[in-house]
C-alpha cells in the first residue's frame, strides 16, 4: 500500500516547527530591525525564524517523500499517558499557585500527592505518607537547613 504521507510524525513535527517560526516572526515584527551594520533587536530573531521555517519545510518534505522503513509508527495520541501528563502538570501548577498564599507545607503536600496519583500503582496510604514525608523533609532542609525565605504556612492559613 502506498501512502502519500510516509511519516506522519515528521509531517506533524515540520508543521509544528513552521507554526512556531511564524509565531516568532510575528512577534519579532514589532521589534526594530536595524541594518546589518547595527542590528536591531529584531534582526537576529527574524533570521532564525526564517531558518526554522525552512527546516520545518524540509522535515515535512522528508515525511512525505522518504519512507523510513517498517518501524515508522503513527503518532498514537490515544496511547499517550494523558492521566499522568495532566496530573503531573496540574501538581506543578498548583504548587506555583499555592506557594505564596498557602505556604510551602500545603503546596508541597498537594503537589506530591497529586503527582503520586499519576501512577497506575497509586495507593492512597503511600501517597499520603510520601506527601507528609516530603513536607517534613522540605521543612527540615529548605526552611531550617538552608534558610530559604519561605513560610511553612502562607497568609491564607494564618501564617505570615
Amino acid at each position: 500500500m502506498t501512502r502519500l504521507v510516509k511519516s506522519p510524525k515528521d509531517v506533524a513535527t515540520g508543521l509544528l516547527l513552521i507554526a512556531l517560526a511564524a509565531f516568532f516572526a510575528w512577534q519579532a515584527l514589532d521589534l526594530p530591525m536595524g541594518r546589518a551594520i547595527r542590528m536591531g533587536p529584531g534582526y537576529f530573531p527574524m533570521i532564525l525564524a526564517g531558518i526554522l521555517a525552512l527546516l520545518g519545510l524540509v522535515i515535512v518534505a522528508s515525511g512525505i517523500a522518504l519512507p523510513m522503513g517498517d518501524d515508522e509508527s503513527p503518532i498514537d495520541i490515544a496511547r499517550w499517558p494523558w492521566r499522568a501528563l495532566a496530573l503531573v502538570t496540574l501538581a506543578v501548577v498548583i504548587f506555583g499557585i499555592g506557594i505564596r498564599p498557602l505556604g510551602l507545607g500545603p503546596s508541597m503536600g498537594i503537589a506530591v500527592f497529586l503527582s503520586a496519583l499519576a501512577s497506575q500503582k497509586f495507593h492512597f496510604l503511600t501517597g499520603l505518607v510520601s506527601a507528609l514525608v516530603m513536607v517534613a523533609f522540605s521543612w527540615a532542609v529548605f526552611i531550617k537547613g538552608l534558610g530559604l525565605p519561605l513560610p511553612m504556612l502562607g497568609p491564607w492559613l494564618g501564617g505570615y
Partner: protein, 499 residues
C-alpha cells in the same frame, strides 16, 4: 614546571575540609542518582543549583562536577545488576555487564567498571590540566568573528554527533536560540518575546526549561509504561579479578580512555557517545566478537572507561571557552553565571583557584568513587528496590521547590510545567531535547558576537570568511553538515546508533 605549581595550587584548594566535604556530597549524590533509574544528572544539578547560591564558587562547582562524573559510575551498577541503565551513558554496559552478572560474575563486572573508570578519570583529568591553559590562551586572542564561528561549529558538531534526524536536531538548536533570546535585548533594552509580562523581562529561566524538559517530561515518559524492576542478582560474588581478566581488560581500558577523552572534548559528545563508540570499536577489533553480548568483560571495561573519560574532558570547552558541550555543562555555565563569574577563557587565568581546584577535586572525587562503590555495593543494591511510583512524586516535589527558589517567582514554576509538556511532546516527535538546551544557553552569546562582528566589519558578512581562524571553523562546520547529510554516511550513522 608550571603545571606542578598549578596542581599544587589545586591541591591547596581542593584539600580543605569544606571542599572535600562537598566533593564527597557530590559524588555520593551522583552515585545515588546514577543508581536510581529515571533521575539523571541534568535534573539533579538543576534542582541543586539554587542550593549552590550560598556556597563559594569553588565548592559549588566541585559538588556539581562530582554529581556528573559520579552518575557515570552509579549508572554502571544498575546496568550490571538489573539490566537497566540508571544513566543513558550506561546503556551499552548493560548488554554484557548484565550477562556477566547472570553468570555469577557481577562482582568482576563491577570491579572492572570501577577500575576502568578510575584509570580513565585519572588520565582525563591530567589531560584537562595539560591542555586547558594553552587552549584558553589561544581563545583569548579570538575576536567576535572567531567566537561566533566557534559557537556555530560547536552547535553543528553537537547536531552531527547526536542520534536521530539531523534536520530535527538543527531545528531544535534554532528553537532553543529563539527561546534564549527572550527577555531584554542587551543593546537597546527592548523587551523581546515577553508578551508584556514583567516576569519575563529577564527572559525564560533556564533552570525552568532544563527541569521541565529533562525532569518533568522524563517523569511522564517513564509513567508511559510502568513495569516492575526486579533485582535478579542476589549475590554479587567476588570482586577480585583473575589474571586472565586483567589481561583482557588492559587494552579495552586504554583504548576506551583515549577515545572517551577525545570525544568528550567535542561538542555534543561527552559520556553517552563515548561509551557507544568504545563498544563498537572493541567489538570490531576483538578476536572473539562472538562473545560480545554474552558477557564479554571487554565490553564492560571499554565503555565504562570511555564514558568516565568523556565526562571529565567535556569540562575542557566549558572551562576554557565558556562553551557547553552537553546539557550538564550548560548547567555548569549557569552555575558560574549565578556565582557572578563570566565563563570563558579568562576563568583559567583570572580564577586559577577555581580552575585548578576543580581539576584536582575531580581526581580526588574519582578516588572516592572507587572507595564508595566497591565496598558499599550492598547498599546500592538495596536502593534499587525503591519502586518508581514512590520515587517520582518526591522528584516532582524537589523540582517544584528547586525551580521556585531560583528567583522566588511562581512564573518559573508555571514555565517548568509548560516545558514539561513541551519536553514530552518533543520526545514523542523524535526530537532530541538536548540540542534545544544547548541552543538556549548559547543563543544570547551567539547573537552578541554576531552583532559585534558585524559592527566591526561595517555590516559586511564576508568578515567570517576573510579571517583565517573563523573561516576554518565555519568551513569545518559546513563540511560536518555535508558529511552527515550524505546518504551513505547517513545510513552508517543510523546503524551505529542502533547498535
Amino acid at each position: 614546571m608550571e603545571i606542578f605549581d598549578n596542581l599544587a595550587l589545586g591541591f591547596s584548594v581542593a584539600v580543605t575540609f569544606q571542599n572535600i566535604f562537598y566533593c564527597f556530597i557530590g559524588v555520593l549524590l551522583g552515585t545515588l542518582i546514577g543508581v536510581l533509574p529515571g533521575l539523571g544528572p541534568v535534573p539533579t544539578i538543576a534542582m541543586l543549583l539554587p542550593i549552590t547560591f550560598g556556597l563559594p564558587p569553588v565548592s559549588a562547582l566541585i559538588m556539581l562536577a562530582g554529581i556528573y562524573y559520579g552518575a557515570q559510575y552509579g549508572g554502571s551498577t544498575t546496568a550490571i545488576l538489573i539490566n537497566l541503565p540508571g544513566e543513558s551513558s550506561s546503556v551499552v554496559t548493560a548488554i554484557d555487564g548484565y550477562q556477566m552478572a547472570r553468570k555469577g560474575r557481577a562482582g568482576a563486572a563491577l570491579a572492572t567498571a570501577a577500575l576502568g573508570s578510575f584509570f580513565a578519570g585519572t588520565v582525563a583529568t591530567f589531560l584537562l590540566a595539560v591542555f586547558a591553559p594553552p587552549l584558553a590562551d589561544l581563545a583569548l586572542k579570538f575576536g567576535p568573528p572567531e567566537y561566533f564561528a566557534l559557537m556555530v561549529l560547536g552547535l553543528v558538531a553537537s547536531v552531527a554527533l547526536a542520534s536521530g534526524s539531523v534536520f530535527k536536531a538543527l531545528a531544535m538548536v534554532v528553537l532553543g536560540i529563539l527561546l534564549g533570546l527572550s527577555g531584554q535585548d542587551v543593546y537597546t533594552g527592548t523587551p523581546r518575546f515577553t508578551f508584556d509580562m514583567l516576569e519575563l523581562a529577564d527572559g525564560i529561566e533556564f533552570v525552568a526549561l532544563a527541569m521541565g524538559v529533562f525532569g518533568i517530561g522524563e517523569i511522564v515518559r517513564n509513567l508511559e509504561d510502568e513495569h516492575e524492576r526486579t533485582v535478579m542478582v542476589r549475590k554479587v560474588g567476588g570482586l577480585l579479578l583473575s589474571k586472565d581478566d586483567i589481561k583482557r581488560i588492559v587494552g579495552p581500558i586504554l583504548r576506551g580512555t583515549f577515545l572517551g577523552s577525545f570525544l568528550g572534548i567535542l561538542p555534543g559528545g561527552g559520556a553517552v557517545l563515548s561509551s557507544f563508540a568504545a563498544y563498537s570499536i572493541e567489538k570490531r577489533i576483538s578476536k572473539r566478537p562472538q562473545e560480545f553480548g554474552k558477557g564479554a568483560i571487554e565490553a564492560v571495561a571499554a565503555p565504562e572507561s570511555a564514558n568516565n573519560a568523556g565526562a571529565q574532558t567535556s569540562f575542557i570547552p566549558m572551562l576554557t571557552l565558556g562553551i557547553p558541550s552537553n546539557p550538564v555543562m550548560a548547567l555548569m555555565i549557569g552555575a558560574l553565571i549565578i556565582q557572578g563569574i563570566v565563563p570563558g577563557p579568562n576563568v583559567v587565568n583570572e580564577q586559577p583557584n577555581l580552575f585548578w581546584g576543580i581539576v584536582v577535586s575531580m581526581w580526588l572525587g574519582n578516588f572516592m568513587l572507587v572507595v564508595l562503590n566497591l565496598p558499599l555495593i550492598g547498599i546500592w543494591v538495596r536502593l534499587l528496590t525503591v519502586p518508581y511510583h514512590i520515587l517520582f512524586p518526591l522528584i516532582v516535589g524537589f523540582c517544584c521547590i528547586g525551580v521556585y527558589s531560583v528567583n522566588n517567582n511562581a512564573i518559573d514554576v508555571f514555565a517548568m510545567a509548560l516545558f514539561g509538556i513541551v519536553g514530552y511532546v518533543l520526545v514523542k516527535l523524535d526530537c532530541e531535547p538536548a540540542p534545544l538546551l544547548l541552543g538556549f544557553i548559547i543563543g544570547p552569546m551567539l547573537e552578541e558576537y554576531l552583532r559585534r562582528a558585524m559592527l566591526i566589519s561595517r555590516g559586511d558578512p564576508t568578515v567570517f570568511f576573510t579571517r583565517p581562524i573563523s573561516a576554518t571553523m565555519l568551513l569545518l562546520a559546513i563540511v560536518a553538515l555535508v558529511v552527515v547529510l550524505m546518504p551513505s554516511v547517513r545510513k552508517k550513522r543510523e546503524e551505529a546508533f542502533k547498535e
